[in-house]
Symmetry: C2
Subunit: 225 residues, 2 copies
DNA sequence: GTCAACTTTGTTGTAGACAATCCGGCCCGG
DNA sequence: CCGGGCCGGATTGTCTACAACAAAGTTGAC
């Protein structure tokens, strides 16, 4: 599972990253118990490092902990997923605006490269690959914005959302439109037009949100406590 | 400093809240070193509890830690303060929209009560009291929105901003206009008009942002590394 | 006098041990 | 058959001790 035992002073950060990745990649599924001793043994570190890492993940919203009862991977209700997507939308609009103002040519090139990859995935019907590109796209765009605060918040929101990400993209017929929306955003950024970038990002995430609500309504016709 | 020693299982949460409050109330100033042993003795808990609390505060952006060198209260540059305010604006607009849709009558009453307090502070020139009310106002509004995700993110942003909050409100001549902006927001919420609520919140925070930039430019004519 | 290497001091990072607490199964009376 | 109390295993919360490390101070040679 691990390559080398982390050096002194890196144990906690190592645990944090490994656990985070494990959740993002679906190796730790929502609801799953996270036993400190077990994780410590797996990662080759002490319980203290695991403990503080879990505390950070809790603060980030990836993990849930209750006193004396340990930690589990947080399980989202549909409402929470919608909320997170709404917050993401608000922040990514901000990021898109800044990206239009501050993106360097190489950022735009990278975005266009990802667009080409997305198009290729779309052609061969590879939804999973498309979803992965989609993640990279948004990540690169936010990074290009140079807005460290938005990036930090969005990273944490993204980490909570992954499980739902796949569903939304799989909504039937949305794939080509999604691709077009992404292209429009890049064009606005390349044209250094902050208003258009923000507006198009808003439109895009609005569509994703609608799609998520649709899929959710279809999946759980009348659930959510 | 403390009332009772926290019971088993509450140590970490207790530390977290106490340290957070200490930073928010200015008893721990930015840049100040946070020595684990010392805090543990002060709070009457073990070092482990302090340690995990510091990890959470780091994740929240309130403190900074570097390996083997301990933690300090995070010190913001002007640019970071602007970024945080921008993120706050994006999220509070979302919250204002939701508040307009979901606020209960008692929430509106509470907001109007705070408005009256603010007006009183403004009349007697009590900037500090006004600033405190301002904080309560935004907190209550966000709570009324029922948007747990936005609330969580905004709480953390707020915790990072406090040191700058006072300055912005002290900008000369802004106090009456600020009051009017708040009143306009409450009116929109009371009228259940989400578009107006969002727009007015945006206008308000835009004004605050401009004011912050102005004050910052005046204070450090050409600083910020 | 200056600079480098060494020592000292204070603090953090980690390991191990132990008690408190929770969860499950179990027994027993109704 | 069912509910309440009791016990055992598992897991967490906390404490103590100690090694690793950083920063400041000290020594000594040039």
């Amino acid at each position: 599972m691990r390559a080398v035992r982390p050096k002194r002073g890196e144990g906690e950060a190592y645990c944090y990253q490994q656990l985070r990745r494990a959740v993002l990649e679906g190796r730790l599924v929502p609801g799953q118990r996270l036993v400190e001793t077990e994780l410590a043994r797996m990662l080759g570190v002490g319980r203290a490092a695991v403990r503080t890492a879990l505390a950070r993940l809790e603060q980030e919203g990836v993990v849930e902990r209750s006193p004396n009862r340990g930690a589990r991977v947080r399980l989202l209700t549909e409402e929470e997923a919608v909320e997170i997507l709404e917050a993401r939308a608000a922040l990514e609009c901000l990021a898109a605006r800044h990206a239009a103002l501050r993106a360097r040519p190489q950022d735009v090139r990278e975005l266009r490269a990802i667009l080409r990859e997305m198009a290729a995935c779309a052609r061969r019907g590879d939804s999973l690959g498309y979803s992965e590109c989609n993640g990279r796209f948004h990540h690169v765009l936010v990074r290009a914005s140079g807005h460290a605060t938005a990036q930090r918040l969005l990273d944490s929101l993204w980490a909570q959302m992954v499980r739902y990400q796949y569903r939304t993209v799989l909504a039937p017929g949305r794939l080509p439109r999604s691709l077009e929306e992404h292209r429009a955003i890049v064009d606005a950024v390349a044209a250094k037009d902050p208003d258009a970038a923000e507006a198009r990002m808003r439109a895009h995430l609005q569509a994703v949100l609608t799609s998520l609500r649709e899929v959710a309504r279809r999946t759980w016709p009348a659930a959510a406590p």
